[in-house]
């Protein structure tokens, strides 16, 4: 099922990036994941998941708590291995992609190293991969400007607000200009205002870097605002229920005004209905914001 709300108030309507001969950013084929437990009660976290994400495409994963969003993200990041099926990132195995630093990652907690300054935190992956000092400094200055924290380069994480820490984490995930960004509820701990500002910034950053994004969230408006496609998942076992294309115009054109546009609301409604799924009328799926 796919809904295509009309873009309104936007200049150019162009949803997905042009498909090219390049391999898909992420290609998930028939993936299942079973967590074995000692008591013999195995948990099937994912079952028969198929998903292809084009280079430069922004895809959100949404679904009730425990439906396997984080698990899917961790499989793509090769932090865990699938029980069945295969995952390719830019045509390579997930493992090879991790070794080649094909992706950058940001978690719900910023996860900055408290003994490093903001700048040193951003430079961490570069330092680990033996990038020269001058190049590191140039790159981190660039990224600091990108996330608007140039004045805080020499501060330590504990001197920053939660939102600022999250921006540092995003800058760090962009340090090596990855073609793919993996984000697991990066704005989950932020207040609504900061969250909306961060979303706008993320859209701008993605447009500037041209990276594909897999973005896990609990918020329907967030998913709709950010994404080219929203993947709705259902729990027990975790499966993809629907993939909803959101056609809200070019990334560069997205701004706060978009949140009031008709197309935005239509997409929100479509995602919400899909989330409720067959069990319409039942109480809202736990863990999902329906605002």
């Amino acid at each position: 099922m796919s809904t295509e709300p009309a873009a309104s108030g936007q200049t150019v309507a162009q949803g997905q990036p042009v498909a090219s001969a390049r391999p898909a950013a992420v290609s998930v084929a028939g993936v299942g994941k079973v967590f074995a437990s000692r008591k013999g009660t195995d948990v099937t976290a994912l079952e028969a998941v198929d998903l292809t994400i084009a280079p430069g495409e922004f895809v959100s994963l949404i679904g009730p708590s425990g439906c396997g969003k984080s698990t899917l993200l961790r499989l793509i990041a090769d932090l865990d291995t699938p029980t069945s099926g295969s995952i390719e990132v830019f045509g390579k195995t997930a493992r090879q992609a991790r070794i080649d630093q094909a992706y950058g990652i940001a978690f719900q907690q910023a996860g900055l190293l408290p003994w490093r300054t903001v700048r040193a935190n951003i430079e961490l992956p570069l330092e680990l991969h033996k990038v020269g000092k001058a190049d590191r400094a140039a790159r981190s200055s660039e990224l600091l400007a990108l996330v608007g924290l140039s004045d805080f380069a020499d501060k330590y994480p504990d001197q920053l607000s939660g939102g600022m820490q999250q921006r540092v984490a995003i800058a760090r995930s962009l340090a090596e200009s990855p073609g793919l960004l993996l984000m697991d509820e990066p704005f989950g701990a932020l207040d609504e205002m900061t969250r909306e500002r961060m979303q706008t910034e993320l859209v701008r950053i993605c447009a500037e870097t041209g990276a594909a994004v897999v973005f896990v969230t609990h918020s329907i408006p967030e998913a709709v605002f950010l994404s080219n496609r929203v993947v709705v998942m259902s729990p027990r076992p975790g499966r993809i229920r629907d993939i909803i294309a959101v056609d809200l115009g070019r990334a560069e054109g997205r701004d706060e005004g978009l949140r009031e546009a008709d197309g935005f609301f239509e997409a929100v409604v479509a995602v919400r209905e899909s989330l409720h799924g067959e069990s319409a009328g039942a109480p809202a799926a736990r863990g999902v914001d329906i605002r």
């Binding site: 990041a77 932090l79 991790r98 070794i99 630093q101 992706y103 990652i105 978690f107 907690q109 996860g111 190293l113 408290p114 003994w115 961490l124 992956p125 330092e127 680990l128 991969h129 330590y156 994480p157 504990d158």
Partner: protein, 294 residues
């Protein structure tokens, strides 16, 4: 309560105040306490207040500025005590360094290999239940059999070895806790950077272990000093504060303030050792951000 945050001057002032209060309590009890001491049944819980058992504070201090043997023209007591203190401090420092090195190595080994942890940890804990008095003669005997070319084992090395034996324990336990302290989040981040165990150790585990390591280093320093003083006595090493305490105690009858001089020396050694560790802590301030005072 004043905690780590207070400025240096204030902490020094508090330290001095503590010494003054201690001296005042000493003199107060000496003046007011019963001459026979306080007994519960046959047990003496507070000492007798005679000049023999509890010399006046000023007598003890004044004794430092008289020659070692009251009659002779020896060097001043404080000089002799200071020399012995530095000798013991040197031995304790060697013991501390060896202990810290061994403790860190063991901790890293245990962090790296789960099996090493389950194989080593019980022995490390058990090692500390062996009384010092029991191992001192053994160490001395084994040491005396070591002679490799120019190198021959000396008594002070036995003392340092025993000091290190006491010092390595808190370091190995503290460092292990510290090395295992990073969040899963951080460890997985390093994995996404596909760096190996070594880089993770240097960039993540070691820096993260600092807040756990510093108290361990302090404990190790205290243990090394105590180990040195006690081992000097049991091994019979001359020149240090331990031997001095025993020798002077014999003179207590005619010169009750004399045995207290090397005890002050031992306190000085302890303070210097603690000071060095505090300096190390100062140098590592960056790694202690967000540290909650234990």
């Amino acid at each position: 309560m004043t905690r780590t945050g207070s400025p240096l001057g204030r902490r020094v002032l508090l330290g001095v105040l503590g010494v003054v209060v201690l001296a005042a309590v000493w003199e107060l009890y000496k003046a007011l306490g019963p001459a026979t001491g306080v007994m519960i049944g046959d047990l003496t819980v507070l000492p007798r207040t005679s000049d023999l058992a509890m010399p006046h504070v000023w007598d003890m201090v004044a004794r430092l500025f008289r020659p070692v043997r009251s009659a002779g023209d020896d060097e001043m007591m404080w000089q002799a005590v200071l020399e012995a203190s530095f000798f013991s401090l040197g031995v304790a420092a060697v013991g501390w360094l060896v202990g810290v090195g061994v403790g860190m190595l063991l901790a890293i080994l245990m962090q790296r290999f789960r099996t090493a942890e389950s194989a080593l940890l019980p022995w490390i804990v058990l090692s500390q239940t062996v009384p010092l008095i029991a191992i001192a003669p053994l160490v001395k005997r084994w040491g005396s059999q070591i002679e490799i070319g120019e190198f021959s084992w000396e008594n002070w090395m036995s003392v340092a070895l025993i000091a290190s034996y006491l010092a390595f324990f808190p370091v190995s336990i503290g460092a292990l806790r510290g090395l295992e302290s990073p969040d899963v989040n951080h460890v997985e981040l390093m994995r996404t950077y596909s760096v190996g165990w070594w880089a993770t150790l240097i960039r993540l585990r070691l820096p993260a272990s600092v807040p756990y390591l510093l108290p361990a280093l302090r404990l190790a320093a205290a243990n090394a000093v105590i180990g040195t003083v006690v081992a000097e006595v049991s091994i019979g090493l001359r020149g240090g504060i331990g031997r001095m305490i025993v020798e002077y105690a014999a003179a207590a009858g005619g010169d009750p303030a004399k045995p207290w001089a090397p005890i002050f020396g031992a306190v000085v050694v302890g303070l210097l050792a603690a000071g060095v560790v505090a300096l190390i802590g100062l140098a590592l301030t960056r790694y202690r951000r967000g540290e909650t005072p234990a």
